[in-house]
Amino acid sequence: MEFTEDQIFSLAPDESSKKSGKELANPSKWSKRQFSERALWGECQGSGKLPYQTQVDLSNVAFKCSCPSRKFPCKHGLGLMLLYARDRKLFSQASEPDWVTGWLDKRTEKEEKRVEKKTKEKSVDPAAQAKRQENRLKRVEEGMGELRLWINDIVRNGFLNIPGRGPAYFEAMAKRMVDAQAPGLAAMVRKLGSVNFFQDAWQTPFLDQLIRIYLLLEGFPRMESLSTELQSEMKTWIGFTQSQEEVKAESGIRDDWFVLAKQSDKEENLNIERNWLYGLQSQRYALILQFYVKGQIPEVNLLPGSWIDAELCYFKGSHPLRALVKQQYGVKQPGVVPGLPSWNDVMGSISKILAVNPFLENFPVIIDNVIPIKGNNQWMLKDEAGGGVTISQSFQFPWKLMALSGGAPLKVFAVGKEHEFEPLGVWVNGNYKLLV
């Protein structure tokens, strides 16, 4: 498996770790540098008497180091992997020493136990569960009734005074939804309040979000007439969570998955990581969402631009995207990801998805032969037939995209809807480049 430096840096917990990792990507710092089929290890002299023993699981990327650092991965893990990515010749192939074998075996054993444990059904009291469910439904319905009145109020009075209402107006209703045990609706209300009222035509995203809430409020009482997939979808939007154990208990899709992009965000102390994947045989996209606080280790480490052999389980829903990695079997050799031929084909496929799930907000797409261009002060992606979409205003790397293209067509991975998409990666001469 080839790793690029960008891929490795994407695993670093912070900037200082990146810098220290680079400093340690120096053969003179390592007294031992070896690798096997499944791991990479080395010994680095630190400030202590004995050298630190650093190891990297190459098949399901993970790190372990005997240094006292609380960062994960530590600078030694990053440095060792960077050195391996830069010059593999510096490492000799060897049989794994006990300290490496022990760790790898423990990892495998742990993973198996975890899957086994999670798949075992928890013993629950069905009567108590039904009672709790009934109570919750009642509270949600009451909350929805209030939310409906609140929306009607906005519609009756018009949007004119909305920007002046301030965040408290939305926060009060969001809190009410939390009390009503509908955290999904609370998040939707918060999103409504977070519309940028200073941007031109803010009314459209505001109304779009208002309508999405309205659709949920209208659909909920009629749930029984809808498909089970859409029922699950709506429940998720309202805030009924599906436990990871339940999701992983289902049989998943084992495929060669290409890691298309990793988008990281921070909300207060919480890191939110969105990993976009594409399955070569299943031809399905998957979104692996991970939430973790600072200092915590994300459950899976996915390297954008890499191929993994893994079994993924999707959350229940109508045309679901969100999934979990049930088991990772190792890395795979690069394959060729197919793209759609035109934007109208993209729009057509999105229409089909919307027909079964009107709540989806963003759609991942891979499209062939599009040229990034600038016209009317806006960045756009134009296909061979002359059709196109605009690039989101929030996209930070339009010049990098232009430089990579040089006015020639590219295969692009983008996420968006209608006429606005954000490119996250491109293929240049068969090599995948991240737009970060």
Binding site: E5, Q203, L207, N344, G388, W399, A403, G406
Partner: protein, 495 residues
């Protein structure tokens, strides 16, 4: 989508003032769905807007961009740099190691390879901030860089450099100065041509600023134009005079020479009771000085009590004429003349004037001979000035000789140069800085890394200071320097 704009109008005013009805939507949206009008206008609005929203989303088609086109970048003539050198570039940029960036760019240029396209925006951004790197950046960015820069007015340096006259005629003051600065280096005669073309219409401040730029590469051919200028302003005239004072063939320098040449003579007399001949240089301090010399910038009065007014006048005159004139005048080489000046206390006081003259007229031979044959006191006071004025290779050689005596004075000067230090010089500098761990830290080693040869990597441990308390500091600094030199080594190996 007009129907959506209509809905937004309704939404803005509110359903109480402007209710939305099914007939407000186009028939193609409402025809296939049975819509019963509700009693509440809010309900109607949400139902109809919800329907239109679904229609808008699901019925979306691609924008027609047939009218927007752009030609692709021309094919590159040279290959791209290796992936390894690209990743080193990223390290350099993330740590803002600009001195090493210059080395990286020079390597690209000398090996005739181009930077990977993805790096071009970052490089063009640097080019917009660091004008001195613009030329080399444009070279290594190739055709793709040229194509990209034309799409961004802030990076369009190619157009700027190609149309010199229009920038000179219509450009902003800073652009004009920049252009003049560039031309002064690349084509000095063209810079004079441009100045002449608009000189009469320039204001006094502009004239002064442009003349200051002429100090770079001042040549004999500039003299004719500078001497022909008849300016009213004192500020401009004073700069013109100052410039002419640096041109050996100018009337003012000639006037100084004609005054000073007969006052300085070589005299041979008897010494040791007439047993030997003694040759000395004499400066006749009572030699008449025409009034015109004082009008041409020579001060009459000394501000130093230990220097008489006459000595002050002759000191100024000796420092204002090319030192090579004395070689011809006395038919002697520099060493002999310096030794003659050194012989007598009365003449030795004029040696610093010769130092100033050698620097002013950029006379390398005189500078070297002054460093080789002067007394310690003179060297101590002028070694910094002379070493700074020497060209690269000579500077290295003389710096090695004098670094032990004047490390603090010479190191900042040596940091300014572009050429790498010789191994010997780097060794001498590191031997000093390793012992001065508190004064020389990361802020010194970062810019110095591009000047220190990578051979020093093997020797860093040998500079360990003897004092225990300094050892820990040096270890930290030597680790940092080792890392920087390692990046430098990788740059050199990756091309």
């Amino acid at each position: 989508m007009k129907f959506w704009d209509g809905i937004i109008n309704n939404a803005t005013l509110g359903s109480a003032k402007m209710p939305l009805r099914s007939h407000d939507l186009p028939e193609y949206i409402t025809e296939s769905i049975e819509l019963n009008e509700q009693t509440e206008p809010e309900e109607d609005f949400l139902r109809l807007a919800g329907l239109a929203y679904q229609y808008r989303q699901a019925g979306s088609t691609a924008l027609d961009l047939n009218l927007i086109s752009q030609s692709p970048a021309a094919k590159e003539e040279f290959p791209y740099a290796s992936p390894t050198s690209t990743s080193i570039f990223k390290t350099i940029m993330s740590e803002e190691l600009y001195p090493l960036l210059i080395l990286w760019l020079q390597q690209c240029e000398s090996k005739r390879v181009l930077t990977e396209p993805e790096l071009i925006p970052e490089l063009l951004e640097i080019a917009s901030r660091k004008k001195e790197l613009r030329k080399i950046i444009l070279t290594v960015c190739g055709k793709r860089g040229e194509w990209l820069s034309k799409l961004n007015p802030e990076w369009d340096f190619y157009t700027v450099t190609s149309d010199v006259n229009s920038i000179w005629q219509t450009g902003k003051p800073e652009e004009r100065k920049e252009l003049l600065r560039e031309l002064r280096v690349s084509d000095p005669s063209k810079s004079i041509e441009l100045l002449q073309s608009t000189w009469d219409s320039e204001g006094a401040n502009e004239k002064a600023a442009f003349l200051e730029i002429l100090r770079t590469n001042l040549v004999d051919t500039d003299r004719v134009w500078l001497e022909s200028l008849k300016e009213k302003g004192q500020k401009v005239n004073s700069i013109i005079l100052d410039l002419l004072k640096s041109i050996p063939s100018s009337a003012v320098v000639q006037h100084y020479w004609n005054t000073v040449k007969d006052a300085v003579t070589i005299r041979t007399g008897k010494a040791l009771l007439g047993m030997i001949n003694k040759t000395v240089i004499e400066v006749n301090e009572n030699f008449p000085v025409p009034e015109s010399v004082f009008k041409a910038g020579i001060e009459k009065l000394s501000s130093n009590k230990q220097v008489s007014d006459n000595q002050h006048i002759w000191f100024q005159l000796i420092s204002a004429v090319p030192p090579s004139n004395w070689n011809e005048h006395f038919n002697q080489n520099c060493q002999t003349i310096i030794e003659l000046f050194r012989k007598e206390k009365k003449s030795a006081i004029y040696l610093p004037a010769l130092v100033l003259a050698a620097i002013k007229f950029r006379d390398v031979q005189w500078m070297k001979d002054l460093l080789d044959h002067s007394e310690e006191d003179l060297i101590a006071s002028s070694v910094g000035l002379l070493v700074r004025a020497l060209p690269g290779r000579d500077r290295n050689a003389y710096a090695v000789r004098f670094i032990k005596q004047k490390p603090q004075e010479l190191i900042p000067i040596l940091l300014e140069q572009n050429e790498e230090w010789s191994v010997e010089l780097a060794r001498a500098i590191l031997r000093f800085t390793a012992n001065e761990v508190y004064a020389y830290n990361k802020t010194f080693y970062k810019p110095a890394s591009s000047l220190i040869p990578i051979k020093m990597l093997e020797e860093l441990d040998s500079f360990m200071p003897s004092e225990d308390q300094k050892k820990v500091y040096w270890k930290t600094q030597s680790d940092e320097l080792s890392r920087l030199l390692d990046i430098k080594k990788q740059i050199l190996q990756s091309f």
